[in-house]
């Protein structure tokens, strides 16, 4: 183990970490809102809206991110119908190609997470809102969305971590993020294990911060649970607790219903 080399590699890899964070932050920011839109489209009763949304989610969840990235980067790089449009200014840049691929991917996963959250909003709360005379928009803004997001938060935290990890693939399309920097150092030092240990530790640190931030947000968004006793917790219903538990543990939106054509969602 060459510790001197590990020390020397920290600075360049941290420089790459900035790009990693920028990649993830941009994709997550766009993907979150696009995901809400996609979730609503999926839940729409109009098949002209829900079927394309279903197809979108189906494609992006069913194929590896690496394939999606290569289609965006190398595939569209060859496609003449893109070259003559304004999109080329964006697609020309590897960074933006990576952002596009990550965003398209996270939109699909986020929409499933949010949809699961919306479906888990207790019906009684909707009825209560209606009884108060809330309009649909107001109800959506004040009741459905806040409750759904709270429900979805643990799973969404996992999705952010998946994005941090997925951003490593950007190195395969010339973006010099963390893994790219690490590989570049390896190509001149031939010490892959040492360098990857340094990079891996920084990834772990980033994900640790993400996990902490999501936990804190969870805590803030659940003032009513903070006051609860443990006995109340148990009464709150095992089903939801278990769903949240599984959601927190296995990444890939484990707490969520699978998209399936034979199970109409409504």
């Amino acid at each position: 183990m060459n510790f001197e080399l590990m020390g020397d590699s920290i600075l360049p890899i941290l420089r790459g970490a900035q790009i990693t964070v920028m990649l993830v932050a941009t994709s997550i920011a766009i993907g979150f809102f696009a995901g809400i839109g996609m979730a609503l489209a999926r839940l729409s009763r109009n098949p002209l809206v829900s079927v394309p949304a279903y197809a979108y989610v189906f494609f992006f969840r069913g194929t590896p991110l690496l394939v999606q990235l290569f289609i965006v980067y190398y595939g569209f790089g060859r496609a003449d119908f893109v070259k003559d449009t304004v999109f080329w200014a964006v697609l020309k840049e590897p960074f933006w190609c990576a952002v596009i691929a990550l965003t398209l991917n996270t939109t699909a996963y986020t929409s499933e997470i949010i949809r699961g959250g919306i479906l888990a909003v207790p019906w009684g709360q909707i009825e209560a809102a209606r009884a108060c005379g809330m309009s649909r928009v107001l109800m959506f803004r004040r009741i459905t969305m806040p409750v759904a997001i709270r429900q979805a938060l643990p799973a969404y935290g996992n999705e952010i971590i998946l994005m941090v990890k997925g951003s490593a693939l950007a190195s395969t399309v010339t973006v010099m993020e963390m893994t790219g920097e690490a590989k570049s150092i390896i190509s001149s030092t031939y010490a892959p294990v040492e360098i990857f240990i340094v990079a891996g530790s920084i990834y772990l640190a980033i994900n640790f911060v993400v996990t902490r931030a999501v936990r804190r947000l969870e805590h803030r968004l659940t003032p009513y649970q903070r006051a609860r006793t443990e006995a109340d917790e148990k009464q709150a219903g095992r089903k939801i607790a278990f769903a949240a538990l599984r959601g927190r543990q296995a990444a890939d939106d484990i707490a969520l219903p699978q998209p399936s054509s034979d199970r109409p969602q409504d």
Partner: protein
């Protein structure tokens, strides 16, 4: 463009399909390996001592927190030299080659195993304690409690999670293309490079992956229904 995907010496269709076969083989073995690791890991996390629990926590945290690409690179570059170092302790100084296929299965299996561990642990812990107490009360041994009470319910409770892990595992195999193993992603990269038609080949790869994920997802949904047949819910749908 279509002739590029044909079967035989002129097209890349047969190479792509062979690659897909390799992808399935790696994914199946890695998944099975991951389930064994996951069951053992969950048992250790629930019932093990503090040292074992600590080791398992490090394993699941690190493997789930570090990019899959890094785990694969680490094993790819590090495993051979680690094995050689161990061998040299026993006096063997030659080169020991660990096959790419084995590395692919181990790397993807270890990633899959970390997720499986957590799913199995969640399932184990979701079984009400009262049932275990009841088992003890009627005089069951620890093993009897495990395989008569915990195991059957654990499988049902873990199945949705395991289905997702299978999808993850299948998609993760695309990353072992960096080791040169001739799986689907590798073959598409080779074909895209050789023919300069990336759009065709990456779309074809996406289609093949979609076929694999859709097919297996249907299988998992069937299994879920099968194992949940004894559980009734108000809606008549399988319980989670």
């Amino acid at each position: 463009m279509i002739e590029l995907l044909t079967y035989g010496d002129q097209g890349w269709g047969d190479e792509m399909l062979r690659g897909a076969g390799m992808t399935v083989a790696v994914a199946l073995l890695a998944y099975a390996f991951g389930i064994v690791v996951g069951m053992a890991g969950a048992a250790g996390k629930v019932g093990g001592g503090s040292v074992l629990r600590g080791v398992l926590d490090v394993y699941t945290t690190v493997v789930r927190g570090v990019p899959e690409l890094l785990v694969i690179y680490l094993l790819f570059f590090g495993l051979s030299s680690a094995v050689m170092k161990v061998a040299s302790v026993f006096g063997y100084t030659g080169y020991i080659e660990v096959d790419n296929f084995v590395i692919g299965v181990l790397a993807v299996g270890l990633i899959s195993g970390a997720y499986s561990t957590e799913v199995f642990r969640g399932a184990l812990q979701a079984i009400p304690n009262g049932q275990i107490e009841a088992g003890r009360a009627v005089g069951m041994t620890g093993w009897q409690i495990f395989h008569r009470i915990q195991l059957p319910q654990m499988l049902r409770l873990a199945l949705p999670g395991l289905g997702n892990i299978w999808q993850l595992t299948l998609k993760d195999t695309a990353l072992i293309s960096v080791t040169g193993l001739a799986e689907l992603m590798r073959m598409s990269r080779v074909a895209a490079g050789a023919t300069h038609q990336p759009f065709t080949f990456y779309l074809a790869a996406a289609a093949l992956y979609l076929v694999m994920t859709t097919f297996s997802q249907t299988a998992f949904q069937r299994a879920e229904r099968h194992f949940s047949r004894s559980v009734r819910t108000a809606s008549g749908q399988p319980a989670p």
